[in-house]
């Protein structure tokens, strides 16, 4: 649908170059107060007001990053190129990241920051209403059948001994072929699923802090124009101060409230690999190796390790302790779920 004019009126010429007044006249009856064009215009204006407001409500962070004028321009062009294809307006922003990545002119000088913010705000939308599944318990973990690579938690507990999960073998990069001790998890075969609501984001800017600050500074109902102006200046200032910094973020839920949780790079990698269906061993091995494909890490890492070599100076024992500690946190947050 053709966007409105700068004064929020329906355009006189349609996308096919024809006069919209003429087209409207062919289809719509005038009445004693309105021409066919004016009657069509009521719908045209309502359409744009509705979807522009919807996108603005969903992306307050991007609005702050770009400023009102640029955000409005971006919104109009995005929604023209990517009209809604969903029965729900919740999905209006689902294609914004890909669209913006190909059109840097809409975020001049701030593309990466804008893209990070879009990723975060879309992740927040998805995390808000994605499914919750019954989390795995510690008992589920310790009774996992190491012989079942695909469905360890639905297999009968054939093991009578139990011990704390052992991550030591998996935390050693050369241990892919090792066998877990009897009574512990076999990381070579164990695959874990994450809660559907978890979104993992590698970010170039600490946009999580920025978004929280923006939301905190946005009163539900702006009391006056002066107040609104002050809020705008604060937001602009916060954006201007923001320096690049690698952030590995999990967007998740606790009691149906969305939270942002920063992760260590290795911690992030393990979760990301598990989400991609890798075994626990593969995930942990990947976490302690130099990533080869991540532009994010390549651009920022000062490490000189050869690909495939461990990148950390921490001992195997220390890494195993890290992994165990992370697993404890993830389990307490209920992040792992049963196989379907």
């Amino acid at each position: 649908m053709t966007p409105l004019t700068p004064s929020d009126r329906m355009r006189r010429i349609g996308p096919d170059g024809r006069s919209l007044a003429h087209t409207a006249k062919e289809i719509i009856k005038p009445n004693d107060r309105l021409t066919a064009f004016e009657r069509l215009e009521i719908y045209n204006r309502q359409y744009w007001f509705r979807i522009l407001d919807g996108l603005s409500d969903d992306f307050p962070g991007l609005r702050a990053v770009l400023g009102d004028r640029r955000f409005n321009k971006l919104s109009q062009h995005y929604l023209t190129d990517c009209p809604s294809r969903s029965f729900t307006m919740r999905d209006l922003g689902s294609r914004l990241e890909n669209w913006l990545a190909k059109r840097p002119q809409y975020a001049p000088g701030r593309l990466q920051l804008a893209l990070d913010m879009v990723r975060l705000e879309w992740a927040e939308i998805e995390a808000f209403d994605a499914a919750f599944e019954t989390p795995l318990t510690a008992t589920d973990l310790t009774h996992a059948d190491p012989g079942s690579a695909h469905d360890p938690y639905h297999s009968k507990a054939s093991r009578t001994t139990s011990s704390a999960p052992s991550f030591q073998n998996a935390a050693s990069p050369g241990a892919q072929n090792s066998v877990a001790p009897k009574g512990s998890i076999d990381p070579a075969k164990l695959r874990l699923r994450l809660q559907p609501y978890i979104r993992l984001l590698p970010l170039h800017y600490p946009v999580d802090d920025l978004l929280l600050a923006i939301k905190q500074d946005t009163p539900a109902d702006i009391a006056s124009n002066a107040m609104e102006e002050r809020q705008k200046r604060k937001k602009v200032s916060a954006v201007a101060r923001l320096k690049p910094a690698l952030v590995y973020l999990a967007v998740h839920r606790i009691d149906n409230t969305v939270y942002f949780r920063r992760l260590e790079r290795e911690e992030f990698t393990i979760l990301d690999q598990l989400r991609r269906g890798r075994t626990l061993e593969q995930a942990i091995s990947a976490a302690f190796r130099q990533p080869r494909t991540s532009k994010l890490t390549r651009a920022n890492s000062r490490r000189k390790s050869a690909p495939g070599k461990p990148t950390t100076s921490r001992s195997v024992e220390q890494r195993a302790a890290d992994v165990a500690s992370w697993f404890q946190n993830w389990s307490s947050l209920g992040w792992f779920v049963r196989q379907p």
Partner: protein, 283 residues
């Protein structure tokens, strides 16, 4: 017609739309309210707070589902994902009937998120009725269609809006959600007599009635659901109730939403008319 096959033989009284600003009040104070109407699309999701709230509401209150995007009148085929999600929600709420609008709003899979008026043609009535039947067969719940407010009329129309509504509901054998505010708004925008509309409605098919406020502009009226119900709309409601008998009634208030008590108080004004209808029926 208080209870009929189109509202699953229920006898609901006066309800209001369930809206986010009222969640806290409802869950904390547990006010008396006959029933709530939910916008189905807000709960056709996989998890999270909206469904948690809905489950809490369902523990205590009767809930009826009202949709805004089925688009019975669109030429597009029915969206199967939409239907599957809707059916999941129907099982959750156990809604006795399910309503959506007699309108179109999508083209080639692109959604306007608006309730666009139909061309009142026999062909459109046939296609629309067919889709209503498909939805009813899939969801296994009575379907009722709501007349929309409109701001435009088409040259191709072959009948009046009320004739079109009758044609569709007869062909689909479905119920009507009669929105008396929408009748009023359209009557003002298109210069017809709203009483003529009301008098032509097959009263036995009315499963539910909507009332609402609107905004008056210089050359037209917009259905904004952001004001109290005006007297002329109450008069239409009175006439509707005289024809249909005691019918489930719901006040819609979607913008500039006041407190729960204020919205509920406005809705309960309907009881005056419902009581006189019941009295007339008894006599």
């Amino acid at each position: 017609m208080p209870a009929n096959r189109f509202n699953n033989f229920t006898t609901y009284g006066v309800g209001i739309g369930l809206r986010i600003p009222h969640y806290d009040h409802i869950l904390r104070r547990k006010p008396t309210c006959d029933w709530f109407e939910i916008i189905s699309e807000n709960f056709m999701i996989d998890g999270g707070r909206p469904l948690q709230i809905l489950d809490q509401i369902l523990e205590r209150y009767k809930v009826v589902q009202h949709g805004v995007s089925m688009y019975f009148g669109s030429a597009d085929k029915l969206n199967r994902d939409h239907l599957r999600r809707l059916k999941t929600l129907v099982k959750r709420t156990k809604t006795p009937w399910l309503s959506d609008h007699l309108c179109w709003g999508s083209v080639d899979g692109r959604y306007t998120h608006d309730l666009l008026p139909m061309p009142y043609t026999f062909e459109a009535a046939r296609l629309t009725a067919q889709k209503i039947k498909e939805v009813r067969d899939f969801l296994e719940v009575p379907i009722v269609v709501e007349n929309v407010s409109s701001y435009a009329e088409y040259h191709v129309s072959e009948m009046t809006e009320w004739e079109f509504l009758n044609e569709v509901v007869e062909r689909a054998d479905c119920g009507i959600l009669l929105d008396v505010n929408n009748i009023y708004v359209s009557s003002q925008n298109h210069s017809f007599d709203p009483a003529m509309y009301l008098n032509s409605i097959p009263a036995g098919r009315v499963a539910q009635i909507h009332i609402a406020g609107h905004s008056k502009y210089r050359k037209y009226i917009l259905d904004t659901h952001d004001h109290p119900v005006i007297d002329p709309v109450w008069k239409l409601y009175d006439r509707a109730i005289q024809r249909t008998g005691h019918t489930a009634t719901l006040l819609e208030w979607d913008d500039h939403i006041p407190s729960f008590d204020e919205v509920h108080h406005e809705a309960l004004k309907a009881n005056k008319y419902l009581a006189s209808a019941s009295l007339a029926a008894a006599v």
